[in-house]
């Protein structure tokens, strides 16, 4: 039997019961589409986590005070008072350090003429701009002279700027040159950062930057303790070495011999990134597994339909055998019917999944990324399902005795 004939017979048979074939196809379409859409969401969140981490600065190490640590980079905010400005100066002398930005952070009520808000205020130095990869949308970042002269200037994150002064594009005031009041001290705004994206209340777009010296004196109340140190290594490969160097240096400076009782924490941006991506990879796989279940159910639907078809077409199978079709001819025909249906479902499913993930991107506010890898997997899976779930019905059909099949009522 020629391939073109097998295909023709199969298409006629599928077309013979359009509603049932359509519903069966729908089952697989949903399976394939959800594999593609859900993995796209998973991949998308992985991509946004990665980009968020990268946007925080490359080759970045952060030092936080206190051993009280459970998780994140800023886990020990203000918790312990162990990190001194002198520590920062000592670290800046290490050969592998490219730049260092000490920070003192606090959350304060911020009052502007037009509105007020609660914001994360970061007192830091000019180095912060390069260390943390800050880009400006207007004005300038804090300068070294601001720090040395205790200038009362502030730089607003893009979100807080809009919160306080309105969207400049929609008739809001340009914040640069305006003043705000933080903890009863007046600051003049000298710059606004570009939006960076990110999550949570500690989002960089929601922060206000002031000079380190000004912040320590007027906001933190003459403190000498730092909240965080952000350090850039000279290059990617020296990050681990630098992490060790910093740890050793601080242990010596803090006179601690046992590294397990260290009163600080050195976090490596790369470690964090890999932890986060592996988490979201797990998420992707979980989503794929859920979608896989619906694909499996779709496959069983195919098998069910094919078995019904075999029963319904018993007489036809008997006839085909009587006029000379062999077992192989019959089983191939039924197998091809199943494969055509899943293949068709695969194509529709890919298109639907693609559209769905584009829709999620556009309307759902979730980042989704379609990867060729998952499209291929979903497609291959659909063909496989056709073969696996078509095999048993095809065998049943081919094994029918022609005499009994012809007599079947």
């Amino acid at each position: 039997m020629k391939l073109s004939d097998i295909l023709e017979e199969s298409v006629i048979a599928i077309g013979a019961n359009k509603v049932r074939s359509g519903l069966t196809v729908l089952g697989i379409v949903i399976g394939i589409a959800s594999v593609i859409a859900l993995t796209a969401i998973g991949q998308g969140s992985q991509a946004s986590i990665t980009s968020a981490i990268e946007s925080a600065g490359s080759n970045l190490l952060t030092v936080s005070p206190g051993a009280s640590s459970s998780g994140g980079v800023r886990g020990a905010y203000g918790g312990a008072k162990t990190l001194l400005l002198t520590d920062a100066e000592a670290i800046s002398e290490l050969s592998l350090v490219k730049a260092i930005a000490p920070q003192v952070t606090g959350r304060y009520q911020v009052i502007a003429t037009a509105g007020n808000s609660n914001a994360n205020v970061i007192a830091t130095t000019a180095a912060y701009e390069t260390v943390r990869n800050v880009t400006m949308s207007g004005g300038t970042f804090i300068t070294d002279s601001d720090t040395s002269s205790y200038s009362k200037v502030a730089v607003l994150g893009s979100t807080i700027a809009t919160d306080l002064f309105g969207d400049p594009a929609a008739g809001g005031t340009d914040p640069i040159g305006q003043t705000i009041r933080i903890k009863s001290t007046k600051f003049t705004i000298v710059g606004v950062t570009a939006a960076k994206g990110g999550f949570g209340p500690d989002n960089a777009d929601n922060a206000i930057y002031v000079p380190l010296s000004t912040g320590m004196r007027f906001l933190a109340g003459e403190t000498t303790y730092l909240s965080t140190l952000s350090i850039t290594a000279v290059d990617q490969k020296s990050m681990d070495q630098l992490q060790t160097d910093i740890t050793d240096l601080l242990l010596t400076r803090h006179k601690i011999s046992d590294s397990t009782s260290a009163d600080f924490r050195v976090m490596n941006q790369a470690d964090l990134a890999s932890t986060m991506t592996s988490t979201s990879r797990t998420l992707t796989l979980l989503l794929a597994a859920i979608a896989g279940i619906s694909l499996l159910v779709g496959g069983i639907g195919i098998m069910n339909m094919m078995l019904t078809t075999v029963t319904e077409r018993t007489r036809e199978i008997g006839l085909r055998k009587a006029i000379g079709a062999k077992r192989r001819d019959i089983s191939i025909q039924f197998l091809v019917e199943a494969v055509i249906m899943t293949f068709l479902s695969g194509i529709i499913g890919v298109v639907v999944g693609w559209l769905a993930s584009m829709g999620i991107n556009h309307f759902g506010g979730l980042n989704s990324v379609i990867t060729v890898q998952w499209v291929v997997i979903a497609f291959g899976l659909s063909a496989l399902i056709g073969i696996v779930f078509g095999f048993y019905p095809a065998r049943r059909a081919s094994g029918l005795n022609p005499i009994q099949a012809l007599r079947y009522e």
């Binding site: 007489r315 009587a322 000379g324 062999k326 077992r327």
Partner: protein, 283 residues
């Protein structure tokens, strides 16, 4: 599929009607038996049937239901293997053939016409007729020609050829089935109660077609339980309880039967047969 077809049957794939195997018989059965097992129960459907059919014959196999005539037809039609005995088809012993070898036999040498017609309902007339060629892997162009020739032979008007088979009347459907049986130019046409689902008038027309085909040299074996149908053949083999009880030439002229078909009591075919009174026990 093609390779095995070549091995088993190609060598005999020549114009069938004039072909004479070494023994001269197209079909030669010796002591065929068929035993069905259902649980511990043995059913003897055939208890030693011997017969020969020559090329060009038109034989009716007649018997009441349960007589074994269907079983005999299945074995003659290479749909089933006998339990014991020998079956030579065109000089070749096929009683031990495998499923696939039997499928080749059916595809190339035998054409079936069924009581239930068994057409593909949603396919066109032409598609139905070429179906056996599809399994032979014959190119499309050639199929069309053969199908048209077969449909002409079976006597279906050209206007119906592109119709779907479920748009036709019973008589037309059976003509399509006959065309399908003819398409591979088979050695033998096996008709299983071909008029069983047709009214008498349509049945007559179909039987007339069989007579015409026989006149053109086709070998036909027709299974029936109606003596009126059997009389249209040139030879009647009566079978009862798995044994041949008579084998006779129908002497009367066929035209007479066409003019005045004998009234038949379908419910009591055995009695009708007995009443005919020309039984001549052979086996």
């Amino acid at each position: 599929m093609k390779a095995s077809a070549d091995e088993t049957t190609r060598e005999r794939d020549m114009p069938t009607v004039n072909e004479a195997p070494s023994s001269g018989h197209m079909i030669e059965c010796r002591d065929l038996t068929k035993v069905y097992l259902s649980g511990d129960q043995e059913t003897h459907a055939l208890c030693g049937v011997s017969l020969t059919i020559d090329p060009g014959e038109y034989v009716a196999i007649m018997g009441p239901s349960g007589s074994g005539k269907s079983t005999l037809m299945h074995i003659l039609g290479a749909l089933d293997n006998p339990t014991s005995g020998e079956y030579y088809f065109e000089g070749q012993e096929i009683s031990e053939f495998s499923d696939d070898e039997l499928a080749d036999m059916r595809r190339l040498r035998i054409g079936f016409v069924f009581q239930q017609f068994n057409l593909l309902p949603r396919a066109t007339v032409l598609r139905n007729v070429v179906l056996p060629l599809v399994y032979s892997g014959i190119p499309r162009g050639e199929r069309e020609e053969k199908a048209e020739a077969a449909l002409r032979k079976a006597g279906l008007e050209e206007s119906h050829w592109t119709h779907l088979s479920n748009q036709l009347s019973g008589g037309q459907i059976q003509r399509v089935a006959i065309a399908r049986a003819l398409i591979n130019d088979p050695a033998l046409i096996l008709a299983d109660e071909p008029t069983g689902n047709l009214d008498t008038k349509t049945g007559d027309i179909i039987l007339e077609t069989f007579n015409e085909l026989n006149d053109k040299g086709h070998t036909i074996v027709l299974i029936t339980h109606e003596s009126a149908v059997a009389e249209r053949a040139r030879r009647t083999i009566r079978i009862m309880d798995g044994l041949i009880v008579s084998d006779q030439r129908n002497g009367h002229h066929r035209a007479a039967a066409v003019a005045a078909p004998a009234p038949v009591d379908a419910a009591a075919p055995a009695e009708t047969a007995a009443a005919a009174g020309e039984t001549e026990v052979v086996s």
